[in-house]
């Protein structure tokens, strides 16, 4: 009889071998017409570098932003189906006993995309993600679960001539800032992929907008305008994704419950392109009224308010074979507690404010070799919450042997974690193989 340690080792080897074997087989069998969302690429016939800066996602090129703003409608209609899978191993420097899957190679997540042109003016980007580690059964085993991930269904039009250039559109979507064309927006300033099962939106693990953290669980209708490739303006409002909109939150349980439909989101950005450079400076925000308990919406006094205000900027340099993307984002979130919650608090009536600052600098060479450095810092008041402070840095190196496979390593170093300065126990390493077709 083999010991549990041997068995576990054998499993690791098996999973790694199967994973690598599967990826190699798929890579050999499939034609090389596959990109970050390969269905989009089949629609335009272009390589991933056309839309993704340096072939690295999710960062978009100026053309990729236009593709998105014009409603994913460039090209010809094809079968709008793609798949994405991630095999990875993540480990934490000094993982507490029982930390799930630390240091074990796993098939971390898999996604199916339904994405592409529907008519000349309608298009969609929808993602359904399967997480094999969605539910920790508490006995060392996990149950898998699928849920609605990013959903963005658009109508767009482009009025363009020698003297005018207007893009306008409407999006039905399920995440504040998912609609944004720039990657310093909260939904897109992220590492793809991230460690699982303990995945976070950014490495500081904070949810920039309420309802954002679990992904795909509120519903918004946004209208946007891009004038003369210079001014971008967007307004929208969000509500609970229930009734006819419940498909946008399918599999998410419990879903975030917003109070009413008056939860506005706004975005204003200025952009400029010169030579191989492009720059965007913008601001965004949201006011959301959220029930304290998503399973109980009977008491109007249990609605708290989140007010977000952000400033962000992005610079890109794209000239073959070099691609540089720099992003900077600052977001302030003020949480006003509900009357129900406030009543029992230490400092009733006082709100709490968190401030997140993130910076990321990425480089790719020949759309093949790349790396990035990001810094993150979260500070918060402690009126009615414990000190949330987190700060640190993430370093990443990756290799894209063919455009539908990426192999990478990330290391995250913490200077501060949950308010404590002695945070190095949380330092983590993440190795991954990502594949899409």
């Amino acid at each position: 009889m083999s010991s549990p340690a041997n068995q576990s080792q054998r499993w690791r080897l098996k999973i790694t071998a199967y994973g690598l074997g599967l990826i190699s087989l798929l890579t050999l069998l499939l034609p090389m017409q596959a990109k970050a969302v390969p269905a989009f690429a089949r629609q335009t016939g272009q390589n991933c570098v056309a839309c993704h800066a340096g072939g690295q996602f999710p960062e978009l090129t100026p053309y990729g932003r236009m593709f998105k703003m014009t409603g994913y409608t460039i090209g010809e209609r094809t079968i709008p189906l793609s798949v994405m899978a991630l095999a990875s191993s993540s480990s934490i420097a000094n993982a507490p006993a029982g930390t799930a899957k630390s240091g074990t190679p796993i098939l971390a997540t898999a996604s199916v995309f339904l994405a592409g042109k529907i008519t000349d003016n309608f298009g969609a980007f929808t993602q359904i993600t399967f997480d094999p580690y969605a539910v920790d059964n508490g006995d060392g085993s996990f149950s898998g679960h699928s849920n609605a991930d990013n959903i963005d269904i658009r109508f767009a039009n482009h009025i363009v001539g020698d003297k005018q250039d207007w893009i306008y559109g409407v999006s039905l979507n399920n995440n504040p800032s998912l609609t944004d064309p720039w990657n310093s927006a909260a939904a897109w300033m992220q590492y793809v992929p991230v460690p699982s099962p303990t995945s976070s939106q950014f490495i500081d693990g904070t949810a920039p907008y309420p309802g954002f953290a679990s992904g795909g669980n509120i519903a918004g209708l946004n209208a946007y305008l891009y004038w003369n490739k210079t001014v971008y303006a967007e307004v929208g409002t969000y509500r609970t994704a229930d009734r006819a909109l419940s498909f946008m939150t399918a599999g998410v349980n419990p879903r975030t419950q917003l109070s009413g439909s008056n939860n506005p989101y706004w975005r204003l950005a200025l952009s400029h392109e010169w030579g191989p450079h492009n720059l965007m400076v913008g601001t965004s925000g949201m006011v959301a009224h959220v029930y304290d308990d998503p399973t109980d919406t009977s008491d109007p006094a249990s609605v708290g308010r989140f007010r977000n205000t952000g400033i962000d900027a992005q610079y890109q340099y794209i000239l073959d074979p070099h691609t540089v993307t720099a992003q900077l984002a600052y977001m302030r979130t003020e949480q006003t507690y509900s009357d129900a919650m406030s009543a029992g608090q230490l400092n009733p009536g006082l709100s709490d404010t968190n401030i997140v600052t993130r910076a990321k600098l990425g480089y790719t060479y020949q759309a093949k070799y790349g790396g990035s450095l990001s810094l993150f810092n979260l500070t918060g008041s402690t009126n009615n919450q414990s000190d949330p402070a987190i700060s640190g840095a993430t370093y990443e190196a990756f290799y894209i042997p063919v455009q539908n496979v990426r192999i990478g390593a990330q290391y995250t170093r913490y200077n501060k974690y949950a308010g404590a300065s002695n945070a190095s126990d949380n330092n983590s390493t993440f190795l991954y193989v990502w594949f899409a077709y």
Binding site: G45, G161, V170, E273, I318, D320
Partner: protein, 215 residues
């Protein structure tokens, strides 16, 4: 007003406004979409509405020779132009275009007015060196003057492309493709011409062409 009301008003408005307007279509596989529409709705994102691109990764097309332009588009479509910039971006975009649409695009860009590239700077020595290569070639290496085929104003001539006011980065990259690869078989003549060019020669002539003096 309730969210659902706003939603239905917007949806109704959008549907009422007409979902598929062929004048604003970005459909690359519909022969009924005019070349002007394609140029404005798709090509302009990289090559500019007036054929003057911002990013040097993408060539300027303003006043390009229609014969050359059509040959390139057909070479992309038939996968006979194999340089990375070609297949990464242009194979797919050109795959379903008809000959008529390609001709229409050629005429669209031929009618546009080229202009010096804003912010282009090169030192005077480089420009003088480039001028000399352009007008006289490099006799000791057997390199003919560019102007012999591309015209004294670098305006091009049928199958020979216009070069004046082209991005220097694009010219250098294409000269390198001709010199070192077989990726542009349609430009076979350039393989011989570019064979002896040094990197410095390429930079000089590209600097001269990007800044081409107004006549």
């Amino acid at each position: 007003m309730k969210f659902s009301h706003i939603l239905w008003v917007v949806v109704a408005g959008v549907l009422g406004a007409g979902c598929s307007s062929i004048e604003n279509s970005r459909n690359l596989a519909n022969p009924k979409v005019s070349a002007t529409t394609l140029a404005q709705q798709v090509c302009s994102f990289c090559h500019g509405i007036d054929g003057r691109s911002t990013n040097p990764n993408f060539p300027n097309l303003a006043a390009q020779q229609p014969t050359y332009f059509m040959a390139q588009m057909k070479a992309f479509r038939s996968h006979n132009r194999l340089d990375p910039a070609g297949y990464e971006y242009m194979w797919g975009l050109s795959r379903s275009l008809t000959d008529d649409q390609i001709k229409g695009l050629a005429d669209y860009y031929a009618a546009k007015t080229p202009a010096p590239i804003p912010g282009a700077t090169a030192d005077a020595t480089a420009i003088a060196g480039g001028k000399s290569i352009f007008e006289q070639g490099v006799a000791e290496k057997g390199i003919p003057p560019c102007s012999a085929c591309h015209g004294p104003q670098a305006q091009g001539n049928e199958q020979f492309p216009r070069l004046a006011h082209q991005h220097s980065d694009y010219i250098i990259k294409q000269l390198t493709v001709f010199q070192r690869t077989e990726e542009r078989p349609e430009g076979g003549i350039m393989k011989t011409v570019a064979h002896e060019l040094t990197r410095k020669n390429m930079e000089d002539v590209a600097a001269y062409l990007q800044d081409f003096p107004a006549q």
